[in-house]
């Protein structure tokens, strides 16, 4: 059985971490773009108004100003919905922030399908891909509230640009305060030797559930929480490839060029084994209740378990 310690949205982990950071470090500065409350940065704004600005509905300017704040010596966190934070100002992020290796942290909230009823325009299903392709950019996709908090704090002090992906909906808390967290280092949550399931973000919980399903069928799955998509933990991947001989990846994101592709790059380069990929298959999202959408788009534990059974046939 998967142990769950309540439910809380990862966005609150991001918001709480910013306040913690703000108390300790006068260099922390936060920028919002008219979505401050929903992406959980308004709390910081209330506590530290002198280190907070709301730029209004102007994401390109938000990232440009974040770059300027970094030039002036701050550690700026700019946050809005992931689709707008990463997509709209992509070239500012590329040319102004990454090329100059500036200490700008980008919070991409409302990730994946789970933003639900707002539909495709507001669902971020491509930003892992477009962020990880940028030189210098680091990409972190924490799995729950507690891990998001740790990732945000750790992210502040990893030099250079960093993208943190977090979500709106309440999701299960599956890690504890004492669970280790280090950017770039994957966590094995459940050991196993038949197949390795690697997941990031909300899909880590589904991966753990999938391992339960597989166990009942006599399949012993290893579950790895790959909270850092870039730099990806190649050692953990190689070890899993060697010891398990088959890999399934799971992400709440497009299949192309995202997290699964990042794992595949490491696998093919180092120790090729059969792989299967769970994610959104080259289509836009739509309106619906988050849970219904996850079923419709094949992002549930049963889909991961099915992918594992499929990959085992090719082992």
């Amino acid at each position: 059985m998967v142990e769950v310690f309540g439910k809380k949205a990862t966005r609150f982990g991001f918001g709480e971490a910013l306040i913690e950071l703000g108390k300790k470090d006068p260099k922390i500065f936060v920028l919002g773009a008219d979505t401050a409350a929903s992406v959980a940065v308004s709390g910081f704004g209330q506590q530290f108004p002198e280190r907070f600005i709301n730029v209004g509905i102007a994401e390109t300017n938000m990232l440009g100003m974040a770059a300027g704040l970094a030039v002036a010596g701050y550690i700026p966190f700019a946050a809005t919905y992931g689709v707008f934070a990463a997509g709209r100002p992509w070239e500012q992020i590329r040319t102004t922030i990454c090329y100059s290796d500036l200490n700008v942290k980008i919070g991409g909230s409302h990730s994946g399908l789970m933003v639900g009823p707002d539909g495709a325009t507001h669902q971020a299903l491509e930003e892992i891909a477009i962020m990880r392709v940028l030189p210098k950019m680091k990409v972190v996709v924490p799995c729950d509230f507690i891990e998001t908090k740790k990732a945000t704090v750790a992210g502040a002090y990893v030099p250079g640009p960093l993208y943190i992906r977090y979500g709106r909906e309440n999701t299960p808390i599956i890690t504890k305060e004492e669970t280790p967290f280090e950017i770039g280092k994957a966590n094995v949550l459940r050991d196993g030797k038949d197949v390795a399931i690697m997941a990031c973000g909300t899909m880590v919980y589904e991966a753990l559930m999938a391992a339960d399903i597989l166990e009942k069928k006599g399949i012993n799955a290893r579950v790895i929480n790959m909270h850092t998509v870039k730099p990806i933990d190649e050692q953990a991947i190689i070890k899993a490839a060697k010891e398990c001989g088959a890999i399934v990846t799971a992400e709440e994101h497009q299949l192309m060029a995202g997290f699964g592709s990042a794992v595949a790059e490491a696998v093919v380069k180092n120790y090729p084994v059969p792989m299967e990929f769970v994610g959104v298959n080259d289509r836009f999202g739509e309106s619906g209740e988050p849970f219904d959408l996850m079923i419709k788009y094949g992002l549930k534990d049963v889909n991961i378990a099915a992918a594992a059974e499929k990959v085992l046939k090719r082992k």
């Binding site: 102007a58 300017n61 100003m65 704040l69 090329y99």
Partner: protein
């Protein structure tokens, strides 16, 4: 620096621009030459800049939003002895710190941030200015843009912000030479009346002749004295200024002079000082 010395320095900078571009085989002479006086005045008389320590925390910040005119910035930095004069001949060559557009990762003193994609500089400057203001510091932020660059929507997002946050430590300069790659700015996509646009956005607007040192000097001084709002200096300039066969021709936006043209241009600039 007195006006006579500024003029002499401007001529030296112009000659360096011509030489650099002649050697590099590619680059942007037109806008580099039109912004010479604006940068010479800024760097020699107004900006708080420490040639011995480019990261001096007391420094004023300069962001070259129109990054393609970096030859003028490199030449000015060489005049200030921030970078060795002989390095100018490496412009745009493999292994050089003098990239075709300013690059932060080359650790060239005086380059605060990589620029070159148009329309980003004003946001960067506004971000730096708001951070400095909130920290209670007195550094100033300068940004140089082109008139064609005003066509980018992001300029107006930044213009809105700079006024909203009352960034009186921010001074934007528009090198208004009236030409862009494809032709006259007013024919490609008219940005006139630029002064009215900035005024309506809540800025202090100063219009000057961008080749007249007295007017430039007065504008920078007035910008420093302005409180509660950012200042934009809209400087009317001549693209290719100082080289007769380049002046007011859009084709010299991104074309470099031949060896003969370099000689002709250098002689002309030298002669201009004698008159």
């Amino acid at each position: 620096m007195e006006t006579a010395d500024l003029k002499k320095t401007a001529a030296e900078v112009r000659k360096d621009i011509i030489k650099m571009l002649g050697l590099s085989g590619s680059g942007h002479p037109g806008g580099s030459l039109s912004s010479v006086e604006l940068l010479v005045s800024l760097y020699f008389n107004h900006i708080n800049y420490n040639p011995k320590d480019a990261n001096d925390p007391k420094r004023d910040y300069f962001i070259l939003s129109k990054g393609h005119v970096c030859p003028v910035l490199y030449a000015v930095l060489a005049q200030l002895e921030c970078i060795p004069k002989n390095e100018l001949c490496t412009l745009r060559k493999a292994g050089s710190r003098l990239q075709g557009h300013p690059a932060k990762d080359k650790e060239l003193p005086g380059i605060e941030i990589s620029t070159g994609s148009l329309g980003y500089g004003l946001s960067i400057a506004a971000g730096a200015a708001v951070g400095i203001k909130r920290a209670g510091k007195s550094n100033r932020v300068y940004v140089l843009m082109g008139d064609g660059e005003q066509q980018e929507g992001s300029v107006w997002e930044a213009a809105m912000s700079a006024a909203h946050f009352k960034l009186d430590n921010l001074c934007a300069v528009v090198d208004d030479n009236g030409l862009q790659i494809d032709g006259p700015t007013k024919e490609i996509m008219n940005v006139v009346p630029l002064a009215d646009k900035y005024k309506s956005f809540g800025w202090n607007v100063i219009e000057i002749n961008g080749h007249n040192f007295d007017e430039i000097d007065a504008a920078y001084v007035a910008a420093k004295k302005t409180s509660g709002k950012p200042t934009v200096i809209i400087a009317k300039t001549v693209k290719g200024k100082g080289v007769s066969f380049m002046e007011n021709l859009a084709e010299w936006h991104g074309k470099v002079p031949s060896k003969e043209q370099v000689e002709k241009a250098l002689a002309e600039i030298d002669n201009s000082l004698k008159n």
